[in-house]
Symmetry: C2
Subunit: 421 residues, 2 copies
């Protein structure tokens, strides 16, 4: 088994901008400061971002998942230190990884909020250079590089996509709904320069759940379990929005990944698309020529899952070339470091051919990522990587049970630690 | 094949209140008037409801689906005339039907908006008496009666549930989210008197997609196909909201139907519930004892579908006792009068036992509905009913093609009429 994950997260380290921001913006670049209460926060453009690594709970017991880490010494070092990250990947059997941002938000809207757009552009470019050259560049063949967009200007966004493409970047993190962020929607020609650039440069729009800036909340007093449950399927709104939009018709080579969106709901969604087309296109005016919407979907969308037994069962209804595995390290939906075991259990009875596509080949093809240039394929397996990681500590961190019981407000009883590799 | 539909719609006829509203409220009861432009509208409490039968397009060609009928002479008589409705049911092979309201909205919020709550209560009760005694009562064994709720007062709502139960009513149409209608959410004890009544009286809450009063709209300029596609899955928010709520824990016999919600997405949703529970319950405090959320779901929720090949394929992942067929007459998602052929195509290879459950047995059990008391089972089949309907006209209505082309703004070209039974 070889695993390339198309959805992980990094926590930006404090000095990330030092080597990349032009001198004239150095004082105004985002900075980490320590608050009086001991927490670490990013500050930029008068905004304070208290959650340096929202939900970065890898290696913690589940009882602690509700407590957001607020300081670098509370999170696993692999979240922000590239050397430790690669060790954690090895211990988890993960060959390749695509890492979404944390403090700027998935589509970099924190940077876009700056009034000084020259500063904002310098920060986006510095972020991207750090991500590509330092984070991914330190371990060639281990990371799928991904750019942050210039959200406020489609032409500058296109320029940045082309600049990054010249460095080998074939992924752009983007919002699942620009309209909810206050920008023109997917239905507005506003974005055309960006769509042209991603098509020209063979770049996938990677839209992560939650990137609309709107959580799926039913009521203010609803238990948080409701929101957690609904988050992945929420991305079906983005899939429908784009599927029926002019974007796919005007830019026939555009491609979109539904990051962390899950897969088990996709076959129903495809049926629903086809039925909607059959019943309604004569009056709505939609026209896909001699193709069905489900066929159009498979040409344009990559679906992504962590562990999804129904998605595996329905893999051929989804499209075996349209599914990619993800680890979601270091978030609470991840099963790191035992994700390979979880996938193996879910994929019991799946042919090697299918499992190779889902585990790494689809990710490689969609993102033009070839780790085997850098590393013999036989050294890329889960077993080979774990052998390299021998001795690396993946145990659950010691924690102060009394303190957490007090914070969580429940009696944890006797802990049952999750088995580790 | 025997078919009982758990989701159809009626269009309220003009004189429905005449025999049921107390004299002192007669002048202020809802009335149909004809506007200057020739359209029929309901008026009540200073509100004008222009769409007497939103989307009541049965028997029309698909090219016309976008044009809402605005007058009684534009809609099929079976929408509002009970004798014609039964003929249409026979022609469509449908034995039994549960009919949702049109002009008061799914949860009767039009009536709830009246300042004079005594008037509002009189109108709700008159509506329910008409529905139970006239609409359903005219043809015993052909309709599952359903009450409108008293939305503004949980105790009065409970009283009305009990009053209706004494007339044999085991279904209450309700909103998928009271919070979006301005009432306390499902998580507030406010509703407890109503929940107690529906449990005591063995009444199913039938929550229909769209009953939150919020459409699934991604952007103001999104094509309408986006909204049409997303509507059914939108009800997963209600399912999650209720599943994690105190309602199921405090009222363990409460039951909910996800009307027109579709079924193909349910297995993914159940996996998601179980994973959310596994990963997060230790800090969120959810506790289902020794059961999984998916098991709890199957005890409480009925899922409903029109034609859903993935739902049929996954029927045992959903729960074969938790699926009921629906016709959705006279809305545009319905395949009336060829719905039986559509179901047969989708259910090819399904055992008779499973098809009986999905086609009528589950509906009968969930809604305590027994048509066979009134009619020999052999006279209830699709074929037997259609034989009774021989000669009944189900052809597509003639229409003024030029007028509609002008309204729709597209050239319809040569029409290809849908095959009729």
């Amino acid at each position: 088994m070889i695993l390339v994950s198309v959805d992980d997260h990094l926590v930006e380290p404090p000095h990330m901008f030092d080597a990349h921001i032009p001198d004239r913006y150095r004082d105004r670049a985002p900075k980490v400061i320590q608050s009086d209460d001991g927490s670490d926060v990013w500050v930029f453009n008068d905004a304070v971002i208290p959650n340096i690594g929202l939900n970065a709970v890898a290696g913690r017991p589940k009882e602690e998942y509700g407590i957001e880490p607020t300081a670098f010494d509370e999170i696993r070092e692999g979240c922000w230190n590239i050397d430790e990250r690669v060790k954690d990947m090895n211990a988890g059997g993960v060959l390749g990884s695509m890492c979404f941002p944390s403090f700027p938000a998935f589509s970099g809207r924190l940077f876009a909020a700056a009034d000084d757009k020259d500063l904002a552009l310098a920060v986006v470019r510095a972020y991207n250079d750090w991500h590509v050259d330092e984070w991914c560049g330190s371990y060639p063949g281990r990371f799928i590089p991904m750019g942050l967009p210039v959200l406020w200007d489609p032409q500058l966004a296109a320029d940045e996509v082309r600049r990054l493409a010249s460095k080998g970047v074939h992924s752009l993190t983007f919002t699942e709904n620009p309209a909810t962020l206050g920008y023109p929607s997917f239905h507005d020609p506003h974005w055309d320069p960006l769509w042209k650039a991603v098509c020209d440069e063979d770049v996938v729009l990677s839209i992560h759940l939650g990137s609309s800036g709107k959580l799926a909340v039913t009521a203010n007093d609803a238990p948080i379990d409701v929101m957690i449950t609904l988050q992945p399927m929420n991305i079906c709104a983005a899939a429908a929005d784009l599927l029926w939009s002019r974007v796919l018709k005007e830019f026939p080579s555009i491609r979109i990944a539904l990051s962390e969106g899950g897969t088990g709901w996709i076959p129903y969604f495809l049926d629903r698309l086809d039925r909607t087309y059959d019943m309604h296109h004569l009056w709505t005016g939609q026209d896909f020529g001699d193709r069905l919407p489900s066929e159009v979907f498979r040409e344009h969308f990559l679906t992504c899952f962590i562990a999804d037994p129904i998605g595996i069962k329905l893999r051929h209804d989804i499209g075996i070339d349209n599914i990619a595995w993800e680890c979601d390290y270091p978030h609470s939906d991840s099963s790191w470091p035992t994700a390979p075991e979880e996938l193996a259990a879910v994929a019991s009875g799946v042919s090697d051919e299918d499992l190779n596509k889902i585990g790494h080949e689809n990710a490689m093809r969609w993102y033009a990522f070839d780790p085997f240039v850098h590393r013999a394929k036989s050294d890329c397996t889960v077993a080979a990587l774990r052998a390299e990681a021998a001795g690396h500590d993946v145990s659950i961190r010691a924690f102060d049970k009394g303190r957490f019981e007090k914070q969580v407000g429940i009696d944890l009883g006797e802990l049952v630690p999750k088995a580790t590799a």
